[in-house]
């Protein structure tokens, strides 16, 4: 094999992995519900491809090639694990099912897309909420356990254990690989969207975008959101989530200045935003609004849209923004939303009204370790003149921050506060 051919084979394998990994896992696991076995078989098929393709050339239908090899490996592994009458019957059914489906797929030159069913299985209510996003990233996109563990701040050993426990649950509990019925769909879709958003949020915490694991996570989450929108084009909340994530992602280039310092939203240069992504976000949101069902993600996307509009035109729209937040608080009862609402109230009615609004949620235990709460509190109190409290809040915000640039930014704010109280 020449070096170039090996390189080509790897590139093709990488491209197929990115495009088809979830499709192949879904196809292989749909009958057995054994996600782990499907993944193992597929991993072996990819390994074979890297040996075979450089010598024999890349196949015309690489997906089909991988499916054929993976199917054989899957049947082999079942055969190795089980013996006896019952096993051979089960094996026959499995083999025939896979065989028929694969033959059909080969004839059509395309594998039926069951990724949506796989997403619904990963985000099933019977699966522990915290593991749904990691599970999707692994099963549908093929991310390895170590990458996922780093992104979610969990030890790799623990992440591997939780992932395999979740896969076992899918099989043992008989979690279906299917798209829920009409009446059940909105609720079940919520859990899928929540998990995608959780993956995006983990990727988003890196302000600098230098951490490739995290940055990739936002693009993987966008990929999943696009997938859901493509497969369920009439679901307004899926569109809302996509619009929300596009708005956030569009601002990435403006979150750092030339000196590599953190730049808060209010001080970002709108010219640095990705205009194409914002346009796409707006048109996606418009499609959502035409469907006539409002929801959390659409409201959040509408808020982003309002913020972008204000910064671009200079036209004050804080009253509208606060109304959106009121609606969101009513819908979600989330302390995180309440914090952002307070910051918007500061712009509309001044810092004291905002600090009062923030005090209403101060008793919530979940906020003790929630960095944005302390950062918001510090900002507001430094404007109301409660400087001692503001200083303490800044300290908490700095102590809880894990991004060095954001930490430096907050330290600068604190220094400004201290010099103003001294002078």
């Amino acid at each position: 094999m020449s070096f170039a051919e090996g390189d080509d084979a790897r590139k093709t394998a990488d491209a197929v992995a990115r495009r088809s990994y979830g499709k192949l896992v879904a196809f292989l696991a749909a009958r057995t519900r054994d996600v782990a076995a499907a993944e193992d078989a597929l991993a072996e098929a990819f390994a074979s491809a890297l040996v075979d393709w450089p010598t024999n050339g890349c196949p015309k239908n690489p997906e089909g090639w991988l499916l054929t090899v993976a199917r054989r490996k899957l049947i082999d592994s079942v055969r190795r694990r089980q013996t006896g009458e019952a096993a051979s019957t089960q094996l026959q059914i499995l083999a025939e099912g896979l065989e028929d489906a694969a033959a059909q797929a080969e004839k059509d030159m395309q594998i039926p897309d069951q990724r949506l069913a796989l997403l619904f299985a990963c985000a099933h209510p019977a699966i522990e909420a915290g593991i749904r996003a990691p599970l999707m990233l692994q099963v549908v996109l093929g991310l390895d356990g170590e990458t996922i563990a780093s992104a979610f701040l969990v030890s790799p050993a623990a992440m591997r254990k939780r992932l395999s426990r979740a896969k076992e649950k899918i099989q043992q509990a008989g979690i279906p690989f299917s798209i829920p019925e009409r009446e059940e769909l909105p609720h079940r879709l919520d859990t899928v969207l929540d998990a995608i958003y959780a993956a995006f949020a983990e990727g988003w915490t890196d302000a600098s975008g230098t951490d490739t694991i995290r940055r990739n996570l936002t693009s993987e989450a966008l990929f999943l959101a696009r997938l859901v929108v493509e497969l369920l084009p009439q679901e307004a909340e899926a569109l809302g989530l996509l619009a929300l994530m596009l708005h956030a992602e569009a601002r990435r280039p403006a979150r750092r200045n030339a000196a590599d310092e953190y730049v808060p939203f209010a001080e970002q240069d709108p010219a640095l935003w990705n205009a194409q992504m914002i346009d796409e976000a707006e048109s996606v949101l418009y499609r959502a609004s035409a469907l006539g069902t409002i929801g959390r993600f659409q409201l959040e996307a509408a808020l982003q849209s309002a913020h972008v509009h204000r910064r671009r035109t200079g036209h004050d729209n804080w009253a509208e923004v606060v109304q959106f937040y009121d609606a969101l608080v009513a819908l979600t009862d989330s302390p995180v939303v309440a914090i952002n609402r307070a910051l918007a109230i500061a712009e509309l009615h001044g810092p004291q009204a905002a600090a009062d609004a923030l005090n209403e949620i101060a008793a919530d235990d979940r906020l003790t370790e929630y960095q944005p709460y302390w950062a918001a509190r510090a900002e507001l109190l430094s404007k109301t003149g409660a400087h001692d409290e503001a200083r303490q809040a800044y300290e908490m915000a700095i102590g809880l921050e894990r991004e060095p640039t954001v930490r430096a930014f907050l330290q600068k704010r604190l220094a400004t506060l201290e010099s103003s109280t001294r002078g």
């Binding site: 969990v154 003790t368 908490m396 102590g399 809880l400 930490r407 330290q411």
Partner: protein, 116 residues
Amino acid sequence: MQYLLVLHVNESGWGQMSPEQQQQGVAAYMAYGEALRKANAFLGSNRLKPSANSTTVRVANGKTQVLDGPYADTKEQVGGYYLIDVPDLDSAITWASRCPAASHGVVEVRPVWQMA
């Protein structure tokens, strides 16, 4: 559960910082300690003097060997520690990620062997 967060840092970094940067660095650690205390996770912490001040002692075959310098001569040295009490490893990892040392060195999360 108790965990020892062991801070491994490049010691030459400190000397290369301006006084303002040093002050900012110390303030970040102070804020971190405060946050740990407010969250009721703080048990103890110390900053260590540079490893050049270390002496290592070993008794083998009845002979005591005393050496100047740290145990392992590596670029990164133990620079300090936090002893924390948190519900589980996930929480300990979260606190480790907030430690300023995690962005200029490495923070090792080590569970403490609890004596009965």
